[in-house]
Amino acid sequence: MSDDTREIEALIDMMARLPGLGPRSARRAVLHLIKKRGQLMRPLAQTMANVAETARECLNCGNIGNGDVCGICTSEKRGNGQLCVVEDVADLWAMERGQAFAGRYHVLGGTLSALDAIGPDELRIPKLRDRVAAEGITEVILALNATVDGQTTAHYIASELEHAGVTVTSLAQGVPIGGELDYLDDGTISAALRARKSL
């Protein structure tokens, strides 16, 4: 590496550490940014600096926003008694993209994993218990991944809230919209059959 490209190489190395990018795609991205210096690179650098300064975790739900408490938690309209529990902020954003849920969220920050020494206290489960009592929650919707750790966490929360006077539900599992049965695995078809409904 020569001195005149050292910083560019450093940028490529940093970009390659981002999720979804490898060394090759990082090089392409950096080259593109350099070519679009005025249109893209400088505004991106400025925006990143701003976000680095202002972004913070919501003290109530764990969402990322600009204030101590996020817009969803402060919105009166979202206080309908429903609380959707997700593993991380990316899941919250996915739910918001769907525009189908009008309640509030609770971001756990991961899933229970004894092997990784992640217990209830490492997640935001104590805070969840407090919120259920304090915010007049009537239904807790568990939107957790269908992995062993995700489902262990779901069972755990259901047990924890058993006597909290709330309904605990989980997202349905089955045929995706636009999906063809022929392409589904056996487990998904079984789950869909168990969750069948009257028409």
């Binding site: 004894a114 209830p120 755990y156």
Partner: protein, 366 residues
């Protein structure tokens, strides 16, 4: 109807720098000196089913040295409905990546394309060594009938490892245990049901079969005879204090053992001679293949490593006849071509030699 490997290409796979086989569905007899790379070919075929193959090797171990640039396996599976192209690759330091028909797939998805059963020399001590080997044998046998078995076993083992960690760390959070035990119990019900069904099918396939190999009475030996998820959940909860003292889970399908009685003599398999134990294993593999063919109309791929050398000429001829009658693509290894002479034109005869640490493959006339 038949499912078989019609093309197999290996690149930098153990001793094979580049190997290519084109096959028509007949059995494959691989012969050559020790260390030439015969079992490496069998191992490559065994990776076309979920798991770590017949050597239980990690992706890193398979990498050819000294190049160490990773390895690639490409196979075309010919089936009555449609052919499938399977590619398995591993870069250094990375896990295996499976593609089916050019699309990323899980290892467990391979079980839906073909069934595979195998017998390797390390299983010769199956009946005399610990229960773990017999459970693994049982689960492979079960997987050939129930592709969802691998998912259930993985779920069970993952949840049990977490539970064992809690037990070892003396954590006493009842809700956490219940959450893990609920998943273990559901998976355990599937595991026990699959194993019982598979054993019943193999047992039934022994009855009335025209075979030169001995029959075995097979039973599952359980710590507690549990069947339903509710049974297991209750047993896990009851066993918790004992498990806490032991630091591990003491009940469940991970403690099951497979017992076999040599039917003609009425003695346990572990008390039989080495030759009788080997014959029993071959008998079970053939029964497994017959049962699968009866169920699905398609015989599984059968991998038999160094099996011919352990059999006298009559038994060897009987084995070949049974394999041909099954219409199974059996892959067999042996040191010399004379071991497979009885097969004649009923099989591909492929010689494997070693030149400066690189395997060479040559198809020969019988």
């Amino acid at each position: 109807m038949k499912v078989f490997v019609s093309q197999l290409t290996l690149s930098h796979f153990r001793s094979h720098k580049l190997a290519r086989l084109v096959l028509d569905g007949r059995p494959v007899a691989l012969f050559g000196p020790n260390g030439a790379g015969k079992t490496n070919l069998l191992e490559a075929v065994s990776l076309l089913s979920p798991g770590r193959g017949l050597r239980r090797a990690g992706a890193e171990e398979i990498i050819r040295r000294p190049e160490a640039i990773g390895w690639k396996l490409t196979a075309t599976l010919t089936a009555p409905a449609a052919d499938h192209d399977v590619t398995i690759t591993a870069e250094p330091g990375q896990p295996r990546v499976v593609q089916i028909d050019g699309k990323a797939a899980t290892q467990n998805a391979l079980a839906r394309l073909l069934s595979l059963v195998w017998l390797v020399p390390s299983q010769d001590r199956l009946w005399t060594e610990g229960a773990e080997g017999r459970r693994r044998f049982l689960d492979r046998l079960t997987l050939s009938f129930a592709p969802d078995h691998a998912d259930a076993v993985l779920t069970y083992e993952k949840a049990m490892r977490d539970r064992n960690r809690l037990l070892k760390d003396q954590i006493r959070d009842a809700h956490w245990y219940q959450a893990l035990e609920a998943q273990m119990a559901t998976a355990a019900e599937t595991i026990v049901s699959n194993r019982t069904t598979a054993l019943a099918r193999v047992t039934a396939a022994q009855w009335g079969a025209e075979t030169a190999f001995p029959a075995a009475d097979l039973t599952l030996e359980e710590v507690e005879p549990l069947q339903t998820a509710a049974d297991f959940a209750a047993a896990f909860a009851t066993s918790r204090p004992r498990d806490l003292a032991a630091g591990r889970t003491l009940v469940g399908p991970h403690r099951t053992d497979l017992a076999a009685i040599y039917q003609a003599k009425g003695v346990p398999a572990r008390q039989c001679s080495t030759g009788e134990q080997k014959a029993l294993l071959i008998s079970l593999i053939l029964s497994n293949a017959r049962a699968l063919k009866a169920d699905t109309g398609t015989a599984p791929l059968v991998l038999l490593d160094e099996v011919a050398a352990h059999l006298d000429a009559n038994r060897r001829a009987a084995l070949f006849d049974e394999i041909c009658a099954l219409e199974a693509q059996a892959w067999m290894t042996g040191t010399g071509p004379e071991l497979f002479a009885e097969l004649g034109h009923r099989a591909h005869h492929i010689e494997i030699t070693d030149t400066d640490g690189t395997s060479q493959i040559t198809e020969t006339a019988p």
